[in-house]
Amino acid sequence: MPKKIELPISESAIRELRIGDEVEISGEMVLGRDAAHKHLVKTFDREFERLARDRFLYHCGPVVQKNPDGTWRFVAAGPTTSIREEPYEAQVIEQYGVRGVIGKGGMGPRTLEALRKHGCVYIHAIGGLAVVLAQKVVAVKGVHMLDELGVPEAMWSIEVKDFPSVITMDSHGDSLHEKMFNESRAVAEALMKQGAPGARKAG
């Protein structure tokens, strides 16, 4: 059964999470991808800190619709590939007190080290789940730097309800990505040694 996570969240609650845990996230979090990360490490952004401290940062370039009354609605909100933010993420986690990074594909050793040091987790959302994940966005609370960054890159503040995902890098130095890679490599090498079916019959 998935663990329920309510935002904001404390460091001790984050330290309880382990790789492989299924979670359902509820509460307010903030979006940020390439342009936002570049901006966040260049200048300290107080508004982003307000949106991100003890909350989660989601790597997502959404498709957003503006309602006639001026409010916004998320149409598609699947995760984007996280590894592009590897050069910036450790610094963002440290400076802004982010407790979780949501994306897809996992991240590198610098981020893994930052997760351990500062009490943060990497959370994997399911790629290609554009419609279902957009439905989990129950409210768009606001948007930061929309004019400067544009819709897909702006820092959207959203409220989600039961957003489904999996912890793949935890605050204890473990990475499900690394574990899966190593385990499957051993299986692959054994498979290669077995040889092709025709060749096996002949041998």
Binding site: E22, G128, M180, S184, L191, M192, A196
Partner: protein, 404 residues
């Protein structure tokens, strides 16, 4: 000849907002192999749910609507020039209607063209044929999985791959293991062996048009496909790389003659959101994925004459859908009803025969037509956990996507 633009637009909409039946079957079967409530089980469940929700909303199942790859086989009554114009116009319109995300970026300036057209976009592959009519196949392949493709030049010492079947097999195992979940697993693996660098890669993509449960006419390749589809599951990569019993939905291999000096093995990795569609037009009849389409401009959410007797029965039982009355589709119905099943069968028969004739020793395969009688979804989530790991053709426990 009327413009095919509205039909191609419908092909794009339908392909973007759903998955083919064989892929949905495979995803449902993969879910049913996992323990209910496990991480892998719920991931598959969410994937299927997402497709159903997308179909209901007529929205793209994934925000990455991908590279648009068109394969066009056209007869003497069509011109490639006109078809290209129709396809480009339909792609522009589909982008405007948000069936597609603007996905064509100039690599030098970084500028997005905004309408999915540009130098080499959309990618259209033309093939002239003797028979009248036209067949347009469309594949939409997202960037995440495209990045996980690979091309090996054998021999490749790093994986001990020589220039033989064993070497080919090593390349496929290596590529799937390295792809992990990054290409949105479980993927379907298209493999092109031989050729030059371009035709080898092309063959790997063309293999992805094959239905999941067909059998390669080349017995050597058929055996390799079956073996790998089973043994690769042992990698335990699972959906999105979370771990699980299904790592690939299928392996499809084609071979092309090579020059003695070269030996390429190309891998095309297709994500679970495996979007492909087929439009057939002959005279004034059109079939979309085997289902009859009115030749008039199809409006969204219009009930249109469907293919099977089942759909006809369903029409009798359910009250006439109001949407149909509003448009011209209702008028087209009676005539279509008479011909629909006949045409489907006839077309299926002729295409099957044709493909058989055209089948080369390796690569092209006979398209298995689906059995006409389909059992409705069995008791949900109660499908047996069979020992077979290969992707079954049975309809697993899931709802059939509605036609919208």
């Amino acid at each position: 000849m009327a413009s095919l633009r509205p039909l191609i637009l419908e092909l794009i909409r339908n392909t973007s907002s759903g998955l083919p039946e064989d892929v949905l079957d495979a995803l449902a079967a993969a879910r049913d192999k996992e323990d209910e409530g496990s991480r892998a089980w719920s991931t598959f469940e969410l994937m299927i749910q997402n497709v159903e929700e997308a179909r209901k909303a007529s929205a793209p199942i994934c925000q990455d609507t991908g590279t648009l790859i068109f394969y066009v086989d056209y007869g003497p009554d069509h011109s490639a020039h006109q078809l290209e114009k129709d396809i480009v116009a339909a792609v522009r319109e589909a982008t405007k209607k948000s069936y597609l995300r603007p996905n064509a970026v100039d690599p030098i300036t970084g500028q997005n063209s905004g309408d999915n057209t540009g130098n080499g976009s959309p990618y259209i592959h033309f093939h002239a044929r003797k028979e009248k009519g036209v067949r347009i196949r469309l594949m939409m392949k997202g960037g995440g999985c495209e990045n996980m493709g690979a091309q090996y030049s054998l021999p490749d010492e790093s994986i001990g791959a020589g220039r033989d079947l064993d070497g080919i097999r090593r390349c496929i195992i290596d590529a799937v293991q390295k792809a992990q979940g990054y290409g949105c697993a479980p993927g379907t693996v298209g493999v092109g062996v031989g050729g030059d660098r371009v035709t080898s890669a092309m063959e790997s993509k063309e293999q992805l048009f094959r239905p999941l449960h067909d059998v390669n006419p080349n017995p050597t390749l058929a055996a390799l496909e079956a073996e790998l589809t089973e043994s690769l599951q042992g990698l335990n990569i699972g959906p999105m790389g979370f771990g699980g019993k299904t790592t690939v939905l299928g392996v499809k291999i084609g071979a092309r003659h090579r020059v003695p000096a070269s030996f390429f093995v190309s891998i095309a990795y297709m994500c679970w959101a495996y979007r492909k569609g087929e439009l057939q037009v002959k005279g004034n009849k059109a079939l979309l994925d085997g289902r009859a389409l009115p030749m008039a401009v199809p409006a969204r959410k219009v009930a249109r004459p469907a293919t099977a007797a089942k759909a006809r029965a369903a029409r009798k039982t359910t009250a006439a859908r109001p949407a149909a009355k509003k448009t011209g589709a209702a008028a087209a119905k009676p005539a279509a009803r008479k011909t629909a099943s006949k045409t489907v069968k006839a077309v299926a028969r002729t295409t099957a025969a044709k493909t058989t004739r055209a089948a080369r020793p390796a690569g092209k395969t006979v398209r298995a037509t689906r059995p006409a009688t389909k059992k409705p979804a069995a008791a949900k989530r109660s499908a047996p956990k069979g020992p077979a790991i290969s992707v079954p053709s049975r309809r697993a426990s899931r709802k059939k996507l509605p036609v919208i």
